[in-house]
Symmetry: C2
DNA sequence: CTTTGCAAAGAGGTTTGTCCACTGTGGCGC
DNA sequence: GCGCCACAGTGGACAAACCTCTTTGCAAAG
C-alpha cells in the first residue's frame, strides 16, 4: 500500500467535494484537460484526489450542472467540445423563482443582441454571413408552420451572436435565448401569419445591414425587431387571456408565504 | 406479470437524479417553494421522490452548483433569499477552457453595462441613486489603496446594474463582473494613482448622467469608462510581463502517468 | 477476406448501511 | 434569571455492493 499521498492533511478545513472541483480546475488550468478530452474514471479520480467515489461523483455532478463536464453512461466523463455554452437551467430556475416577466426578458435580449449585431456588422466572417443568410431564407420558407419558424428564428439569432466573434457575448445570448425559446415553443402556434411575415422581413433587414457592414443600421434593425416581437407577443397574450391555457396543474404560480 | 400496479411504481423509467431536480422544480413552479424557504430534509425528500438518499444528494448538489439552492451543514438546504444571482463559476471554467481574452471580457461588460446604464438613467429610484453616489465617494476616498478601490469599483457597477430595474440584466452584469474581479484582484496593485483618479472621475460622470436622467450621456460615459479601463489594463500587462498567458505545456493530451 | 453477432470488460448510475460533524434548541444546574 | 451543555436533527462523507449501458475485440458465419 503506497502511502504518502500528496494531499492528506486539509481534509477537514475545506469540503471534500470542493477538493474535487478544485482538482479538475487544476487539471484545466494546467492544460492537461482541454475540450473533447475524457476525464479519468471516477474510481481513478477517487485515488488521485484521495476521497471516496461518492464524493467524486458529487463533485462531477456539480461540474456537470455547471456545464463544465458531461457524463455518458458506460463511456466516461468528458469535457464538451465545440463552442463554449452556458447552461440555461440556472436562468430558468431564477425566472421561476423570481417571476421574471416577458418584458424583462425581451429587454435583456435587446441589450445583448443589439450589441452582438453591432459587433457582427464589424467583423462577421463570410461563413457567418452564409449561415445567417441561410436562416433568413429558411424563415421565409417556413412562414406557414410557426413551430418550424421558431427553430430558424432561434438559429438566426444564434448565428448573429456567433458572428459577433466574442464567445462570451455569444454564450450570454444563447443563455437568454434559451429562456425565450422555452417559454415560446408552447405558444408559437398563436402567431399570426402576418406577424411571421413581418418577422422574416425584419430578419432580412438585419442580415443586409450586417452584410453591408453598417454597424448603426444593424443595431437599429435588431432593436426594432425585438421591440416589435415583444409587442406582438404581448398582443397574443392579451388575446388569449382568461381560463383557457395550461393543460394541467402548472397553472397557478401565485406566491403564498 | 401485471405491469401497471398503482401501488408499486419505482423509478426505473428515467434518470433518478433528474427526477430530483424535476421534483424541486415542481415545488417551485407550484409556489410551494419561494426564496428564503427551507427544503424538506434529505431523508424526507428521499421518501417523497422515491429514491435513495445519495441520489437526493446528487440532485441537490447539482441544484447547488446552479445556485438554485444552498446547503448549510447541520441546518438544512435553503433557497437563497435576496436578489437573483447567477453563479460565476461556470463562466470562469469556460474562460479557463476556451482561453477568453481580457478584451473579450471587457467587450461583453461594455455591451451589458452600457445597456444597464441607459436603463438606470431612465428609471433609477432614489435609493439606487443614493447607493451609487455613496460608492462614488468611496472611490474617491480609497484612491490610495487599490485593493479597497477595487471593491468599491465592483459595488458601483453592481449598483448601476441594480438601478436598471431589470433583474436579468443585473444578474448578467454580476456574472461577468465577477469574472473581471477574479482576474483583477491579483493585479490590482499595479494600477497607478493617476489611473485610479481618472477612474473615480469617470464613475462620477456616469453617476451624474444617471442622476440627470440623460440616457445617452449615461451610455456614452459608461462606454468610455470601460474602454479606458481596458486600455489601462492592457498597458499594465505590457509593462509587467511581455508574454505570460498560455499554459506552457498545453500540448500533451496523453495521460503520461 | 469481409461482415455479423455476441460476450466480456470497463464505465457511470443507484442503492443500502453506517458513521461523522455541525447547528439549533431546550433543559438543567448554578 | 442566566449561562452552559447535552440532545436531536441535519447535511457530509465513506464503504461495499450491484445494475445498466457502452465499447471493443474476437470468433463464427458468409
Amino acid at each position: 500500500m503506497p502511502t504518502a499521498l500528496p494531499n492528506r492533511m486539509p481534509k477537514q478545513t475545506e469540503g471534500s467535494t470542493e477538493q474535487v472541483i478544485a482538482h479538475v480546475r487544476g487539471l484545466i488550468d494546467r492544460g492537461q484537460l482541454t475540450p473533447g478530452d475524457r476525464l479519468p474514471a471516477e474510481r481513478d479520480l477517487a485515488v488521485q484526489v484521495g476521497v471516496s467515489r461518492p464524493t467524486i461523483r458529487a463533485g462531477l455532478r456539480a461540474l456537470a450542472a455547471m456545464g463544465v463536464v458531461q457524463s455518458r453512461h458506460g463511456s466516461g466523463t468528458y469535457i464538451p467540445d465545440g463552442p463554449p455554452v452556458l447552461g440555461s437551467e440556472p436562468l430558468s430556475f431564477l425566472a421561476a423563482l423570481h417571476g421574471f416577466t416577458r418584458d424583462e426578458m425581451y429587454e435583456a435580449r435587446r441589450i445583448l443582441e443589439v450589441g452582438a449585431a453591432g459587433l457582427a456588422a464589424e467583423r462577421a466572417l463570410s461563413e457567418h454571413l452564409a449561415t445567417i443568410a441561410e436562416e433568413v431564407s429558411n424563415l421565409f420558407a417556413t412562414m406557414d408552420t410557426p413551430s418550424v419558424f421558431l427553430i430558424h428564428d432561434i438559429r438566426f439569432h444564434r448565428a448573429v451572436a456567433q458572428a459577433s466573434g466574442n464567445p462570451i457575448v455569444a454564450s450570454l445570448v444563447e443563455m437568454v435565448s434559451a429562456l425565450y425559446y422555452e417559454q415560446r415553443r408552447d405558444t408559437a402556434e398563436r402567431a399570426s401569419g402576418r406577424d411571421l411575415r413581418d418577422a422574416a422581413e425584419a430578419h432580412r433587414q438585419i442580415y443586409q445591414a450586417i452584410r453591408a457592414r453598417d454597424v448603426e443600421k444593424a443595431r437599429a434593425t435588431m432593436n426594432l425587431h425585438l421591440l416589435q416581437s415583444s409587442a406582438y407577443q404581448a398582443q397574443e397574450a392579451d388575446a388569449a387571456t382568461p381560463a383557457r391555457t395550461e393543460p394541467s396543474h402548472a397553472a397557478r404560480k401565485r406566491k403564498a408565504r
